[in-house]
Symmetry: C2
Subunit: 201 residues, 2 copies
Amino acid sequence: MGRPARHHRETLLESARDLSAQHGPQNLTIARVARRANAPVGSIYHRYKSRAELLGAVWLDLVETFQAQFLACLEGPDPAEAGLASLRFSLGWIAEFPREARLLLLHRREDFAADAWPATYRRRAQRLTAAADRAMANYAERLLGRTDADAMRQVRWLLVDLPRSALRRELEEGGASPAGARELLMATCSFALRRARRQAA
Amino acid sequence: MGRPARHHRETLLESARDLSAQHGPQNLTIARVARRANAPVGSIYHRYKSRAELLGAVWLDLVETFQAQFLACLEGPDPAEAGLASLRFSLGWIAEFPREARLLLLHRREDFAADAWPATYRRRAQRLTAAADRAMANYAERLLGRTDADAMRQVRWLLVDLPRSALRRELEEGGASPAGARELLMATCSFALRRARRQAA
DNA sequence: GTAGTTTTAGAATATATATTCTAAAACGAT
DNA sequence: ATCGTTTTAGAATATATATTCTAAAACTAC
C-alpha cells in the first residue's frame, strides 16, 4: 500500500482556502501553503499538478456548493418571493462562512488562475455557468415572461449584482450590518423585483 | 538643458493605463509598458521610481478626477435628487471613458500596488478618502439627519455600492445597458433613496 | 570645442516563486 | 528480509520580472 500519507488533498485544500481568503488568491504561493500545512512542497505537487489546479479546486468546490443551494432558493412558487429567499440564504451563508464568503465576493474567477486550469476543471466551470444560465432563464420567464438579452440582464442584476453590492460592504466592514442597513437592502430588493414584474405585465 | 526627452511622464502613464485596463493592473509589467510606449525600461525608471509608483499614478489620477466631479453632484439642494444626479454622472462617465471605467470598477486599490506606494502617494490617497468621508457624512446628515455608523453605511451603499453593482455588469457585458435595465436601475435607486429618507423622518 | 546635464538604450543583476528532481522513509505483500 | 509502491522531504532548477548599472547620445552654456 505504500508509505502512509501525512498530508491529504483535503487538508492542503483547507490551507490554500484559508490563505487565499486572508491574502487574496493572487498572492497564494506554494511555499506559504506548505508552511501553513507543515508539509513539504513536494507533497503539495504530489496531490495537485500545479498551483492553478490547487486554486481551481478552491474556487470550484466553493462555487459548486454555494450555487446549488442558491439556485434551489429560486424554485419557490412566487418568483419575487423566491428572489428574496435567495437573498436571505446569501445573508445567512456569509454569516456562517465568512472566510469562504470573502473568496466568492471579493475575488473573480480569473484570480484563481482560471486561464491555466486543466480541462476537467474547465468542464466543471462550464457546467456551473450552464446551470446558472438555465436557472436564470427559467426565472426570467417566470418573473418577466421573456428571456431576451434585456430580461436576462435585469434578472442577473436583481438576483446577483444588487445583493452582492450590499454583501460586499458587509464583509469589508467586518461585523454584520446594522438593522437599518439590512432593512433598507431587503426593502430595496423587494421593490426592484416587484417593479420589474409590474413593468413586464 | 540636456538631451531632449522622447518619453514623457504623461505618455508612459497612458501606456500603463491602457495596459492596466486591458490585462488588469496586477498583470502590468514594466517590459510591456516599455514595448507599448516604444521606450526602453531605463526611461520608465527615469520617470517613475518603481512599478508601484507608476501604478499608483494611474490610480490616483483617475480617482482624483472622477471623485471630485462625483462628489460635486451631491451638493444639490434636494439630497435624493442629488443622489440620482451622481448616478447619472457615473453613467455618462463610463460611457465616455470606458477604459478608465474598467479600471475603477473592476479593480481595487490594492491591485495597484498600494502597499508599496511612496509617502507622497499615501498622502494623496488619504486626502481622497478624507474628502469622500466628509462628503458622505455631510450627505448623511442631509438625507437622514444623522451620521452614526448605520447612517454612513446606508449612504455609502446608496451612493456607491448600489450604482456600482449595475455599472459593473454594464462594463462586463460590453455595450450600454438596454432601456429596461437602465430604467430599472434608476427607479430602484430613486426608491431606495426616498425610502431611506422616509424611514429617518 | 569642452564641460555639464539630462535622457536614452538596453544589458546585467537580483529576487521571488513555480516546478522538477533525487533520495530516502514507511508501509504491505511475498 | 526483500521488493514494489506511495509518500515525504527538501534541494536544485527554471523562469519571469523588477530593478540597477554602464555607456553613450543629444542637447545648452561657455
